[in-house]
């Protein structure tokens, strides 16, 4: 009997281990967090009365600000990495060959170096006075420069730096989905450079742009290390606020409520976007 089911639907059986793993280690934890967020403040009990007061408190107790910073940072990073990655992807696609492959490999490589190492490097580079940049300029050109380390801008630069590859690689796939003849047809029918971009290139590369944008935005929404290492105390992001609730304030239900809010913001973006994208088609390329 089992054998017959297996024969008819082997896919489901192969999917089973993954489904079970994800249910246990991904879905269940999210449920626990969701349940915790409904508990009274500062309790470790999971059986108390259910209520929405943590969510109310989230908006009245000043957690709106960190959430806003995270959203703004994520949005800015997404837009800026997209602007940087688009011409890069076009160049690498247009000149595909040995050099382009080398460049792509070189861009990919740092992704596998821990972001704590890279962000630390960025802070050493930007450090005022004796930093790599300031120190070199001082020693070689006798120029003293200031530094924007420990500002919101520095945190933003860090986010762009870390997340650029996550935008570039999907976009490379996206740009590869633009057939040359469509661009030529548009030009032949009177489209200028901008019209070609707007009417043909962007719509055709949209799946790549969407995936890259989504990935970048979502990763940035939770990003914490950039603000911690480069932003100094200039900015508190939502992840830092959640962590603070969990660790120092020992207020798990409040931390859980904030977590649920971030997850909700993520879900609002991810679900509609993923419904539009045919991942199969992109992966098969």
């Amino acid at each position: 009997m089992g054998r017959r089911v297996m024969r008819r639907n082997p896919g489901l059986w192969y999917a089973m281990p993954l489904i079970l793993f994800m249910l246990m280690c991904f879905v269940a934890p999210l449920f626990i967090v969701g349940w915790y967020s409904l508990m009274p403040a500062r309790t470790f009990d999971l059986t108390a009365d259910v209520g929405l007061h943590n969510y109310r408190a989230a908006f009245t107790d000043g957690y709106g600000r960190p959430l806003m910073w995270s959203l703004i940072g994520a949005a800015l990073t997404t837009v800026i990495t997209a602007l940087l990655a688009w011409p890069t992807a076009k160049i690498l696609h247009h000149h595909s060959g040995r050099w382009a492959s080398l460049v792509v490999a070189l861009i990919a490589l740092p992704v596998f170096i821990s972001e704590s190492v890279r962000l630390f490097g960025l802070s050493v580079f930007l450090m005022p006075g004796g930093g790599i940049l300031a120190g070199t300029l001082n020693a070689v050109f006798d120029v003293q420069i200031g530094s924007f380390l420990n500002t919101r801008l520095a945190a933003l630069v860090g986010m762009i730096y870390i997340h650029f590859p996550f935008m570039l690689f999907p976009l490379l796939l996206g740009v590869a989905m633009i057939p040359t003849d469509r661009v030529e047809a548009a030009r032949d029918l009177g489209a200028g450079r901008w019209a070609v971009l707007r009417e043909v290139e962007l719509p055709l590369a949209a799946p790549g742009l969407l995936i890259g944008g989504l990935l970048t935005f979502v990763l940035c929404l939770g990003a914490n290390a950039e603000a911690a290492i480069l932003g100094g105390r200039a900015v508190t992001v939502i992840t830092a606020a959640i962590e603070q609730r969990f660790n120092y304030a020992q207020d798990w239900p409040m931390g859980a409520a904030l977590t649920v809010l971030v997850i909700a913001a993520t879900a609002v973006l991810v679900f509609p976007a993923l419904r539009r994208i045919d991942l199969n088609r992109i992966i098969q390329r």
């Binding site: 057939p179 003849d181 469509r182 030529e184 047809a185 548009a186 030009r187 032949d188 029918l189 009177g190 489209a191 200028g192 019209a195 009417e199 043909v200 719509p203 055709l204 949209a206």
Partner: protein, 345 residues
């Protein structure tokens, strides 16, 4: 009668890619309202030439005038011409209507006006009006051809270019579309420049045909001229199966070397003889013996392949002719020297 300027004037048009010369000093006037077809095998440079004409490539040398205006360096989007691409290059992310309106949108035509015009064009290419909102991905092969045609016409071009648009289509549909294209040409009165590798296709539709080889025009003429008076073996061979007989001079008298027969009145180094000009029996002026090696039934005609002395030849007989030869049989075949087209190269 005054002559209007030609639709296109090509003067010494040349395109080189590195060391390869794709288009080699092509000069010609393409007349207003003409259906002009460029025929050549792949690699002959015909696609490069049409891309030069459409402005998708810039020529290395030479000039191009459109109704007397120099457009040599004008980019494609500023030329009042439109092309139907080999791949059609339809915008799959847009509806049929949006595809057709694309050029009008680029020119800033108001949406209402665009829609009216798109509807006219749908009728013109014989597509139902409710196709307007359909996705081009839902269209069949023939429908996609019509959408591509309507899209090109949507820019109201002075000249339409076609880069082998029918090459990937099955035979029956291609025949239908050839006729429709010819009709459309007559109805619109626009200049059509058509690229194909099929001389048969060119014959059906064109006013004039240019045969292209290695970047140059080998022969330019009406379909009839090309058919009756090919200038060389290359052009003759392009028409499909033909018999080519070398003429040799023996003791000052011309001979068909392969057949060992005198070639009276030879006017070239080679005689081009079409299969239908060669028939079984003794009925025509020049006759010889041959062994039938293959017999092909082609519906309305029957084709015989034969071996005469050292030469393989082909004869075609209409189904109405009651000759029935079988493979291996020795038979007499004959032809009329008047049917020969003489060429030198």
């Amino acid at each position: 009668m005054t002559h209007p300027p030609p639709a296109l004037t090509l003067t010494g048009l040349t395109k080189r890619f590195g060391t390869l010369t794709a288009v080699d000093r092509v000069s010609i006037d393409i007349r207003e309202g003409e259906f002009f077809t460029i025929v050549g095998p792949s690699g002959s440079g015909k696609s490069s030439l049409v891309r030069l004409l459409a402005g998708l490539e810039t020529p290395t040398e030479g000039s191009l005038l459109l109704r007397g205006r120099d457009i040599t360096l004008t980019p494609a989007n500023r030329r009042p011409t439109a092309m139907v691409f080999q791949s059609l290059a339809l915008f799959d992310h847009r509806s049929v209507g949006q595809n057709i309106e694309f050029a009008m949108k680029m020119k800033g035509v108001k949406p209402g006006l665009r829609r009216d015009r798109a509807m006219d064009l749908l009728r013109l290419v014989r597509l139902p009006e409710d196709y307007y909102d359909r996705s081009v991905t839902q269209c069949s092969g023939g429908e996609r051809q019509r959408v591509a045609l309507a899209r090109a016409l949507g820019s109201d071009p002075e000249i339409l270019f076609f880069d082998e648009p029918l090459s990937a289509i099955d035979y029956r549909l291609r025949k239908t579309l050839e006729v429709e294209l010819k009709e459309l040409h007559q109805r619109t009165g626009k200049t059509f420049v058509y690229i194909t590798h099929s001389l048969e296709e060119a014959m059906v539709m064109s006013d004039r045909i240019a045969i292209m080889r290695a970047g140059q025009f080998v022969q330019i003429g009406t379909p009839d001229e090309i058919y009756r008076r090919p200038v060389n073996r290359f052009v003759a061979g392009f028409m499909g199966e033909v018999n080519i007989l070398a003429v040799s001079q023996t003791d000052g008298a011309p001979m068909f070397a392969d057949l060992g027969l005198p070639a009276h009145g030879a006017q070239g180094a080679y005689a081009v003889l079409r299969p239908e000009s060669l028939s079984p029996g003794n009925g025509r002026a020049v006759s010889f013996d041959a062994e039938v090696t293959l017999k092909l039934m082609l519906g309305s005609r029957t084709q015989y392949h034969m071996r005469a002395v050292g030469k393989s030849l082909i004869a075609e007989v209409g189904a109405a002719t009651h000759t029935d030869l079988s493979i291996g049989q020795n038979a007499r075949f004959s032809f009329d020297p008047a049917d020969i087209a003489w060429v030198d190269g």
